[in-house]
């Protein structure tokens, strides 16, 4: 299977600190890949590079067949529409209702009629199992788990080719954690035919082992382990063993 994203000798330095240290890897298309690692390992920085929000100090990033270094500022903005991103705390626009948050990308980037937008948003809301009573509430009136779902629906609105999740379950209770990770898996399954690629950043080992196809473990900007879930579970690397026992 082809890779949706490839990093080749990517280095990122902030001043003297090397945050990404010579990373070379590929993220397979149509699969769920999870990047695990402790806080400060460089996970979010890696994701920012994929979106072109920051550029590498050296090395090459190819995303959906496009060399990111060839894109200028406006080109990058266009390019980012291939991505849907779910943020750690959902990052819903606090001045818009749940419904309007999901409608937002449709209003900004499509020429759909009001009735079509309504239909589309409703089906997205149903896909993330959000009950109609909460559709017209403001984000501040929703629980953490509900906000995550709205964030997921908003990220899916433009039918992205790659879904990015930054710590999707942190700060949630055990039940919402289960629901949200199941949603990540079911979203991937439903979009299997169009080869949706999912990349999840997490430090939740159990959920990751359950839903992922591949797992990468990052520490101090370097890949410690990168394999299938089975390979990861059986890894003999002492760092991974310690992490699995947490």
């Amino acid at each position: 299977m082809a890779d949706a994203i490839t990093f080749t000798h990517v280095v990122k330095k902030y001043g003297d600190a090397t945050v990404l240290n010579d990373l070379t890897f590929g993220i397979p298309q149509g699969k769920i890949t999870t990047i695990l690692g402790f806080s400060g390992a460089g996970k979010s920085t890696l994701m920012k590079h994929i979106l072109g929000l920051t550029r590498p100090t050296s090395g090459k990033i190819v995303s959906l067949g496009k060399d990111m270094s060839e894109l200028d500022e406006l080109g990058l903005r266009e390019f980012r529409r291939n991505f849907g991103m779910v943020f750690q705390y959902a990052a819903l626009f606090d001045f818009l209702s749940a419904f309007e948050n999901v409608a937002f990308p449709l209003r900004e980037f499509t020429k759909l009629k009001e009735s079509e937008i309504k239909k589309k948003v409703e089906s997205l809301m149903q896909a993330v199992e959000l009950v109609p009573e909460s559709w017209h509430r403001l984000p501040s009136e929703l629980s953490g788990g509900m906000r995550k779902r709205v964030g997921l629906a908003r990220a899916l609105a433009l039918e992205p080719r790659i879904m990015l999740y930054d710590e999707p379950t942190s700060g949630l209770d055990p039940i919402s954690t289960q629901v949200v990770s199941d949603l990540i898996a079911s979203t991937a399954a439903k979009n299997q035919d169009r080869k949706l690629t999912s990349l999840v950043i997490s430090h939740d080992v159990r959920a990751s082992l359950r839903i992922s196809d591949h797992i990468m473990f990052l520490e101090r900007g370097q890949i410690v382990e990168y394999s299938t879930v089975e390979g990861f579970k059986n890894s003999q690397n002492p760092i991974i063993r310690r992490f699995l026992e947490l």
Partner: protein, 263 residues
């Protein structure tokens, strides 16, 4: 003793460096806002929302302060001028003061306090909850989406508010001067039309637009500069008010001396 002096000098040095650094960042921010103001799309709805928000937040206070500033100014003028039997001059003196200084400056202070702070708070809390990142990830520039409508909205709203301040201020002046103190009404309006010119009004309106522009820039800037959590938002809100008000008062002198030359 030497240490105290050394610390003192170093303290001053650090503040100056901080100010220069801040000015550099602010210019960079202003450059971004200018650049994105002229890129498509033009977001009229957001602009209207901002103008409505600014009017809504400040109209009542502006109505109240303008009525009483006009009234008290008329009273003080009357007391000062009555002795030399020139009480009918109260009308134009108050009107010209309102037009050139009181209306733009007071309206500026109200909008800086009510709206500059709100801009910093809104943008700042969006920043700490990653909403700005969410815009950027969707390919929407946060400066264009958030700062541009606020800066343009404040620039366009301020002359309206300033004009309202002038009108109601003169109403206060007329109430006290003519109705309470008994200045002859015909003379009051006669003198008003003799001395008052359109350029007085124009000076105030242009100045108020400049204040609105600065307040919008400063409020948005301190929102974008917020770091950390809720605490950072509070700090940014405070900075927006303080710098907004100081900037209105300081720039008033420079804009006035410039405008008197060209008007």
């Amino acid at each position: 003793m030497q240490d105290v002096l050394k610390n003192y000098v170093e303290g001053i040095g650090a503040s100056i460096l901080g100010l220069v650094n801040g000015l550099g960042k602010f210019s960079n921010f202003a450059g971004q806002v200018f650049f994105w103001a002229i890129q498509p799309p033009i977001r009229l709805k957001l602009l209207m929302d901002q103008m409505y928000f600014i009017g809504n937040k400040s109209l009542f206070i502006i109505g109240l302060t303008s009525l009483f500033s006009g009234a008290v100014f008329a009273l003080q003028m009357y007391l000062g001028i009555k002795a030399i039997n020139m009480d009918s001059i109260v009308g134009p003196v108050v009107a010209i003061s309102l037009a050139k200084e009181l209306a733009p400056v007071f309206a500026g202070l109200v909008v800086a306090g009510r709206c500059g702070s709100a801009m910093a708070a809104q943008i700042g809390s969006m920043k700490v909850t990653e909403q700005l990142d969410a815009l950027e990830v969707m390919g929407i520039n946060a400066h264009q989406y958030l700062a541009v409508p606020r800066v343009v909205g404040a620039t366009l709203s301020m002359p309206l508010l300033c004009g309202i301040f002038m009108l109601i201020g003169n109403l206060g002046s007329w109430l006290v001067g003519v109705q309470v103190l008994g200045i002859d009404e015909v003379m009051y309006f006669q003198k008003l039309s003799d001395f008052m010119t359109l350029s007085h009004v124009a000076e105030g309106l242009i100045k108020s637009a400049a204040f609105g522009f600065l307040i919008g820039m400063i409020g948005s800037y301190h929102g974008f500069e917020v770091k950390g959590g809720a605490e950072g938002v509070g700090k940014g809100t405070n900075l927006a008010v303080v710098w907004g008000m100081v900037t209105v008062l300081v720039s008033d002198y420079f804009i006035s001396s410039f405008l008197t030359k060209i008007l």
